[in-house]
C-alpha cells in the first residue's frame, strides 16, 4: 500500500493542483457573479430597473392637454384627431418639464405636411396625397389648411 502511494505520489500531487484550481474557481465565481443574477431568469435582475429608468424624450399626448386644451378642442373632431402633438411638433418632454424656458420651434408647415401628404405610389390608395405643384402651385399649405383641423378648407 505504501509502495502504491510512493509510486503514484505524483498523481496525488497533480490531483491536489487540480483541486486547488477548482476551489479558486468556485470562490471566484461566488464573489464575481452579480448579486441580482437569476432572480427573474438567466440574467441580471437589476437590468430591468436600469432599463426602466431612462430619460423620457417624448412627453406623450396627455401631457400637452394640461396647458393646450384649446387646440385639442379644435382638433379632436377633425381629420387629424388621431395624430399626437409630438408627431409634428417633435419631442417635447423638455418643454413639459420647464415650459417657460424651453420653447419649441414651430415646424415648417410646407416641409412637414409633404412628408405625409406628397403623393407616392406606395401609400395606401385612399390616403389623401397630392402633388404640391399641381395642387397648389407649390404654395404654403397653411394658407388654406389649419394644421390642427385641415378640413374644411378655410378662406
Amino acid at each position: 500500500m505504501r509502495d502504491l502511494f510512493r509510486d503514484a505520489e505524483h498523481l496525488f500531487r497533480l490531483a491536489g493542483v487540480f483541486l486547488a484550481l477548482i476551489v479558486v474557481f468556485l470562490v471566484a465565481r461566488a464573489v464575481l457573479t452579480p448579486a441580482t443574477f437569476g432572480v427573474y431568469g438567466h440574467y441580471r435582475g437589476a437590468a430591468l430597473a436600469e432599463i426602466r429608468t431612462r430619460d423620457i424624450v417624448f412627453a406623450g399626448r396627455a401631457a400637452c392637454l394640461d396647458c393646450h386644451d384649446e387646440i385639442n378642442v379644435v382638433k379632436k373632431t377633425a381629420k387629424h384627431a388621431g395624430i399626437g402633438c409630438e408627431a409634428c411638433h417633435g419631442p417635447l418632454e423638455a418643454h413639459v418639464a420647464d415650459p417657460s424656458t424651453v420653447v419649441p420651434e414651430k415646424p415648417d408647415a410646407k416641409k412637414l405636411c409633404l412628408v405625409c401628404h406628397s403623393e407616392n405610389l406606395a401609400k395606401p390608395r385612399n390616403f389623401p396625397q397630392i402633388n404640391p405643384k399641381e395642387h397648389a402651385d407649390d404654395d404654403n399649405c397653411i394658407k388654406c389648411h389649419d394644421p390642427h383641423a385641415p378640413l374644411p378648407v378655410k378662406g
Binding site: I51, I56, V57, F58, G60, A81, E86, A87, P124
Partner: protein
C-alpha cells in the same frame, strides 16, 4: 346587445383603410387612460406586451424612425436602426418568362428616416407598399437562446431586452435573429435593439413610434389587459407574423402583410 353590434360595425370599418384614424382614435383613448402618474408601481406579472402593425395604414412618413432615434439615443451616423421602414415594389408577372421567379424590389433609404422619394409611377400594374419593421419580441426568441452569458433576455412581461453592462459583444445573437433587428452599437461595442420603449411603457406611456405615428398604423398592446383593443383586432382581423415557419413566437403581428414580404 346594441352596443356590441355598434362596436363590431365600428371595428369593421376600422379595419378598412378608408377610416385611417379609427384605430388611432382607439389608441388615443387607451393612451389617455394610461397617464404617467397613474402607474408609479409597475408589476411585471400583470403585463404581456405585444405589437400590432397595420400595413394598409402605413404611409412611409418615417415619423417612427425619427422618433425612435430621438427617444432612445440611437446612433445617427452610421446607419443602425431599432425600427425602420421598407418599401416593397412588386412588378406584375412577366408573361414572357413565367418560370422565372419575380422578386420584389425592396428599398429602405436610410431606414426611412427621411421618408421615401417618389420612385415608381402608377399604372404599370405593379404593387407597392410600406412595411415598418422592428424587433418582434419573440416568445421563443432565438436571440436569447444563444446568448452565452444571459446579457439578452426575455423580461417577465414579454419584452426582449439587452443588459448593456453584461454584454460581451460576441455577436452570436445578431447572427441568430432572423429579422435583422439587432446590431452592435459602435459607441459601446455591445448589442442594441428595440426595447419596446421599456422605460416608457412601464410608466403608462406608449412607445415613441406609436406616439408619433400619424395614421395609427402602429399599436402597442398589452395582452394581459382584458380591455386592450388588441384583443378585438386579433379576433376580427387576418393577422400574420414574419417568417412563421421559424416558429419564433413573434409577438409583432401584422395586418395586411403581403406574401412577398421577407
Amino acid at each position: 346587445m346594441d352596443m356590441e353590434i355598434g362596436r363590431r360595425e365600428f371595428l369593421e370599418k376600422t379595419g378598412k383603410y378608408v377610416m385611417l384614424f379609427g384605430a388611432a382614435t382607439k389608441a388615443w383613448d387607451f393612451i389617455l387612460a394610461g397617464t404617467p402618474e397613474a402607474a408609479p408601481d409597475y408589476d411585471v406579472t400583470r403585463h404581456w406586451w405585444a405589437f400590432y402593425i397595420d400595413i394598409e395604414k402605413c404611409i412611409g412618413c418615417g415619423n417612427c424612425v425619427r422618433a425612435c432615434k430621438a427617444e432612445n439615443n440611437v446612433i445617427r451616423e452610421p446607419f443602425y436602426f431599432r425600427t425602420w421602414v421598407e418599401r416593397y415594389h412588386i412588378a406584375p408577372p412577366d408573361l414572357a418568362n413565367l418560370h422565372d421567379e419575380r422578386l420584389p424590389t425592396v428599398d429602405s433609404p436610410n431606414g426611412g428616416y427621411d421618408g421615401f422619394p417618389e420612385r415608381y409611377r402608377d399604372g404599370d400594374g405593379s404593387k407597392s407598399f410600406f412595411v415598418p419593421k422592428m424587433c418582434n419580441h419573440c416568445t421563443d426568441s432565438p436571440c436569447t437562446q444563444v446568448c452565452p452569458v444571459g446579457a439578452t433576455f426575455d423580461s417577465p412581461d414579454g419584452v426582449v431586452l439587452v443588459d448593456k453592462t453584461y454584454c460581451l459583444g460576441c455577436r452570436y445573437c445578431v447572427q441568430a435573429c432572423p429579422y435583422g433587428c439587432r446590431y452592435i452599437d459602435p459607441r459601446v461595442q455591445t448589442v442594441d435593439k428595440c426595447t419596446l420603449c421599456y422605460h416608457r411603457i412601464t410608466k403608462g406611456l406608449t412607445t415613441a413610434c406609436c406616439e408619433t405615428c400619424p395614421t395609427g398604423a402602429r399599436l402597442l398592446g398589452d395582452l394581459k389587459d382584458p380591455k386592450d383593443p388588441l384583443h378585438e383586432l386579433l379576433r376580427t382581423q387576418k393577422v400574420q407574423v414574419l417568417k412563421p415557419y421559424l416558429a419564433t413566437g413573434a409577438k409583432l403581428v401584422y395586418h395586411g402583410l403581403d406574401g412577398a414580404v421577407r
